[in-house]
Symmetry: C2
Subunit: 356 residues, 2 copies
């Protein structure tokens, strides 16, 4: 009986795996395994001796923090390399989940394309909130800043043709997809945390978004289990070899500066394929609007970085989406209205680099 | 061709649905739909006018916060009522996910039993971190308090026969399953958030843990879409009719006090089946150990509450697990080593009350 049922299951799985290659949003997801864990982090012990009759006193007690948290799903018949998806500033795993207007995000999209998917909350953010450094969380109104900075438009107007639904409910969900830092943002801490995820899961592909871009490079330097990076609109923290850091690029928002690392560290970034994507409404010339001008400076630095890595034998491709005819993308190409088109672009890259 | 494929899919789904009733941890999860959203919350607007050239100034900007966040999964051939799973103090959705020693939690267990599952991060916790009230997050060592308070043992010793793996890696994962409040804990705010989840999803069953118990009762009072509650080790906030609040129960940890609500609100709790579970190592007589004595007081108050609701025509069943021969459970019966046995107990209750 048992053997018969197992055989039936195996047959069904084979047929369903075949079906999965035609997967669409209406088809069920076949998940072989899913779960969550913490990775990395540190621990302190307060001096003294714990007294169970005075439990509110820290004496002799421990505190674990600064770990990353990940929720993962491995589909049936998964491809060899899973994808680790890492959010940007003020965001969490939600970046890759249901879009603000209720469509599927890259979590589901790449599960349907038979990749294992690990969603990160970086140390000191969201569900990885236990921080080793104190912080105060303040409700300071800032959402018009983000609306502009994320290049949805110039508040309260939307950019013409922008790939974003314009209803109030979508805006509400979009703003509620933010969550604060519970400790100071620290490039070393967050890259240690995500590197520890790779130590647990083995080789994989890293997707980064925005602020995650900089520590994403550091993670690949630290951990050769990072086999490729797809960076969506990486922020300001590009690393160059000592002595080869380009001049800072001022903008109406801030000044974008490269960071120096020893050559042997930098060379790690020449050994993996890297795809960088930037969306629309980034001016080529300086403008006096901080939100848009900050992206002009970042895109300029990203191009210098691509050239530096490639000159040292690397394989970086930077696509400014409007240049290949893909218009209207915001800072969130993974959740914009055309996110399936963006996923197809990424899938093509992964196929080309034999990463699937 | 298309019709043929659809027919094949339907046949496969029927067979797989049948298989699902024999589901085990090795079988794939068949997920019809999964995603995430924010629910409820409020919004403020700073006085003044937003100036896009001064984006760091709050003038005229908005701030959304105090929403709940939920990640949900609906299995193929789901039962009518989904389960909303709500964490306790210092915890988040992880309570119901992979256990600290790496087994499946109630998220997967009840998906396999064909329930839709909604995992909550309550307002001001974890991925719902955007709070309308300022807070400071401090890394104060407190884990020996929790080890004792969660009745794993008397640090550094484990209770004899406790249903917990004793290795260092399990302890590490257990302590890292905590995340701080990013605003003051507020019963009204968190119950509003979870009530808003029910408004979005419709009728469902509410599982609460510990601190979630008290606002869980409030949620059922606010929202008649809560069709049943299973409360795992509810904490101190039991609500009684005005004039019927029992005398406070002092313990070596704190004093447990009932809260008063108008009779018409209280009566909402008499209209739904409620199951309350408490684990092992709760003394019947006062002891001078705060951790254990706090649970003696809570269990005592819970029994008074059960009697009060039932005297008003309600349907509350309280099971102190050792009394039915289930030994060694901690404050986390949903993730203890015998959590499948606990799930079976809960499933039996749901079947008996025609909730499945």
């Amino acid at each position: 009986m048992k053997t018969g049922k197992n055989l039936l299951n195996i047959t069904l799985l084979s047929v369903l795996a075949a079906c999965a290659s035609h997967a669409n949003a209406a088809a069920p997801l076949m998940i072989q395994e899913q779960g969550s864990f913490a990775a990395g982090g540190t621990m302190i012990t307060a001096p003294g001796t714990f007294n169970p009759r005075k439990p509110m006193t820290p004496d002799g007690q421990t505190y674990h923090g600064d770990h990353a948290y990940t929720f993962y799903q491995i589909p049936v018949d998964a491809r060899k390399l899973p994808i680790v998806m890492w959010h940007g500033a003020g965001q969490f795993s939600k970046t890759w989940e249901t879009t603000a207007d209720g469509r599927e995000g890259f979590q589901n999209t790449f599960l349907r394309r038979q990749f294992g998917v690990y969603l990160i909350d970086q140390p000191r953010r969201g569900d990885a909130g236990r921080s080793m450094v104190e912080a105060t969380v303040k409700p300071v109104p800032d959402e018009q800043l983000w609306f502009n900075q994320f290049r949805i438009g110039l508040w309260p107007n939307y950019f013409e043709g922008v790939q974003v639904a314009r209803d109030a409910q979508t805006r509400d969900q979009f703003f509620r997809a933010m969550t604060p830092n519970t400790g100071p943002f620290d490039m070393a801490v967050v890259s240690d945390g995500v590197s520890a995820v790779f130590d647990k899961i083995g080789p994989g592909i890293l997707f980064t978004h925005s602020q995650g871009g900089g520590p994403g490079w550091l993670t690949a330097i630290k951990n050769n289990k990072v086999k490729a990076i797809v960076a969506f609109e990486p922020g300001s923290s590009f690393v160059f070899p000592l002595g080869e850091v380009p001049a800072p690029i001022p903008s109406a928002f801030d000044t974008v500066q490269g960071a120096a690392v020893p050559m042997d560290q930098f060379m790690a970034l020449t050994r993996i394929p890297i795809l960088i994507l930037y969306g629309d409404n980034i001016p080529e010339q300086a403008v006096d609007l901080p939100a848009q001008d900050s992206w002009r400076a970042r895109l300029t630095m990203a191009r210098l970085w691509r050239d530096a890595v490639n000159q040292h034998g690397g394989d970086v491709r930077l696509i400014h989406l409007p240049e290949i005819g893909i218009k209207g993308n915001t800072h969130f190409p993974m959740s914009d209205l055309n996110n399936v088109q963006i996923a197809d672009l990424v899938s093509g890259f992964l196929t080309e680099k034999h990463l699937d």
